[in-house]
């Protein structure tokens, strides 16, 4: 029996070793490629053949040389991610609190609206939303990207679940202490929500940082585009931008990877939040 278990353990380990290798393979390819000149890569194909003697960080030097717009895209993306995450965390928690802690007329109907929004992919209303953003003069503005998604139904749903788990006595205690309805939210509830904020913040930050389609549509000035849109724009038949593309792709992953290693627990909690108690 014991031997059996050991064999099983080794088999499992090998299986997962293979799965992990396949998972890391594309990223390894990308990294190896970033040590070669981009044009050579395009002519010979992406593979592990690399002349290690000539491997170098020239592509990264070029990336950091300032002779390209990479870091202004980086800055745009970072700015949007920070503002969007902060705003949507706050507003979604605010809305969720209303749903979780009060009884009021129309509550069920309004919550069905939340679920409805969750159940319709945003791509469905892409065109009218785009027209609306034009009408609101938010084209080429960070707010055009952020405003439509400032209250995230998924987060409202998650926060409401989370808040339902808190004892209602807390609120009554707050009222007794003379806090206003909003004071209770700020002084008592928000501090208690910290753990869920971390998870949801990562969820929202990730989706904002990696968002592609909507920012591509809203922003049409090359100096205001976000990092994913900018990277895509380097895949051009005119001009040799492959060096920046490959090194830039690598460099787009690295910060998130570092964050992930440090805050793994929250990442996983955030990304899988939707299914918990679902």
């Amino acid at each position: 029996m014991k031997k059996n278990a050991k064999v099983r353990s080794v088999r499992l380990f090998i299986l997962f070793l293979i799965v992990a290798a396949i998972t890391l393979l594309p990223l390894a390819l990308l990294f190896v490629a970033s040590l070669r000149p981009g044009s050579e890569l395009m002519r010979n194909g992406l593979n592990f053949d690399i002349d290690w003697v000539h491997a170098n960080f020239d592509e990264y030097k070029l990336l950091f040389s300032g002779k390209n717009a990479y870091f202004s895209w980086y800055k745009n993306s970072l700015m949007i991610t920070i503002v969007q995450t902060a705003l949507s965390l706050f507003l979604s928690a605010w809305v969720a609190y209303g749903f979780a802690m009060y009884e009021f007329k129309g509550k069920n109907l309004f919550f069905i609206f939340v679920l409805m929004v969750m159940m319709v992919p945003t791509e469905v209303i892409l065109l009218p939303l785009y027209k609306l953003i034009i009408g609101m003069h938010l084209i080429n503005s960070m707010w055009g990207i952020i405003l439509p998604y400032v209250v995230v139904p998924m987060m409202v749903f998650f926060f409401r679940q989370y808040l339902s788990g808190l004892p209602k006595e807390l609120i009554d205690a707050g009222r007794v202490d003379g806090c206003s309805e909003y004071g209770i939210f700020f002084k008592i509830i928000l501090p208690l929500m910290k753990p869920s904020f971390a998870a949801m913040g990562i969820y929202e930050g990730m989706s904002s940082w990696n968002n592609f389609l909507w920012p591509m549509i809203v922003i049409n000035k090359m100096d205001k585009i976000t990092l994913p849109v900018g990277l895509q724009s380097l895949l051009s038949p005119y001009g040799n931008n492959y060096d920046i593309l490959i090194a830039g792709s690598c460099f787009a992953i690295i910060p998130i990877l570092i964050l992930f290693v440090c805050f793994q627990k929250y990442f996983i909690a955030g990304m899988t939040a939707g299914s918990v108690k679902g």
Binding site: P128, K131, M271, T272
Partner: protein, 300 residues
Amino acid sequence: MQKKRVRKSFIYSKKVAPYVFILPFLITFAVFYVYCIISMVGMSFQNVPAHAWVGLKNYKIVKNAVFIKSLRNSIFYTIVSCALMIPIPLVLAALLNSQEMRAKTTFRSILFIPALTSVVVAGVVFRLMFGELPGSFMNKFINIFGAGPLVWLRTPGTVWLALFFICMWRWTGVNMMYYLAGIQQIPSDLYESAEVDGASRWQQFFYVTLPLLKPTAIYVLTISIFGGMAMFSESYMLFNGNKSPNNVGTTLVGFLYRMGLEQNQLGIGSAVGVIFLLIVIGINLVQLTMNGTIGKKKED
């Protein structure tokens, strides 16, 4: 002063406060969803930008061969990605959770890493891996078995292979995590009593794990369906634009994008959007009726 205090106490009253709390949602819901859907339905009967009513003319697009193809592509992609992305991560999760497994957290983290990468980066890598040059990774790989080189991204069959590869690469880890969360909520005494009853590992998996993971599986199914029907960016990156050869990778959203944004036919694009909305509502209705319990659960 008096008035101000009255207003203040009004807003601060326990009756009004909940509405103040949900107000941000109501505003965005009304402006960005309700208004947009109404205006989309309106535009679908108009010739935009002239805004002349043209009746059902825009809906003639349903007979367009490219529209039909993109709809078929989306449905095909959704079905196959569900068929892949529900069972495989489930099995992986169950295996990873087994007692004999070593270095669980390390493997869990590694499998999760692709989810951190942007679809753009994933697209760039896979586009190059599936390049048609003899030296491209996939061609080198199949060359080991004496096959190829293939023109991966211009041949319908292999295009799908590349698309499903991206999909699996990015989402296997996340879906596995959903299942792991579900598995860990299963009380361990259930397994213990199953073992006492002499159930084998497989029997335990089929009679204990699977039934109890049904809610998780349904959640994964739901997000897979919507993710699949809304697929666009993967195809856009793989073909460097919304222009897959012979529309092998054009999806419903890709077609909507082409009509509305590339060719400036907002009327026709809106008609496609309305059709898309109807499909989504249809899927939701089917789901809700099939899982009436789930619908109720969310209410309480």
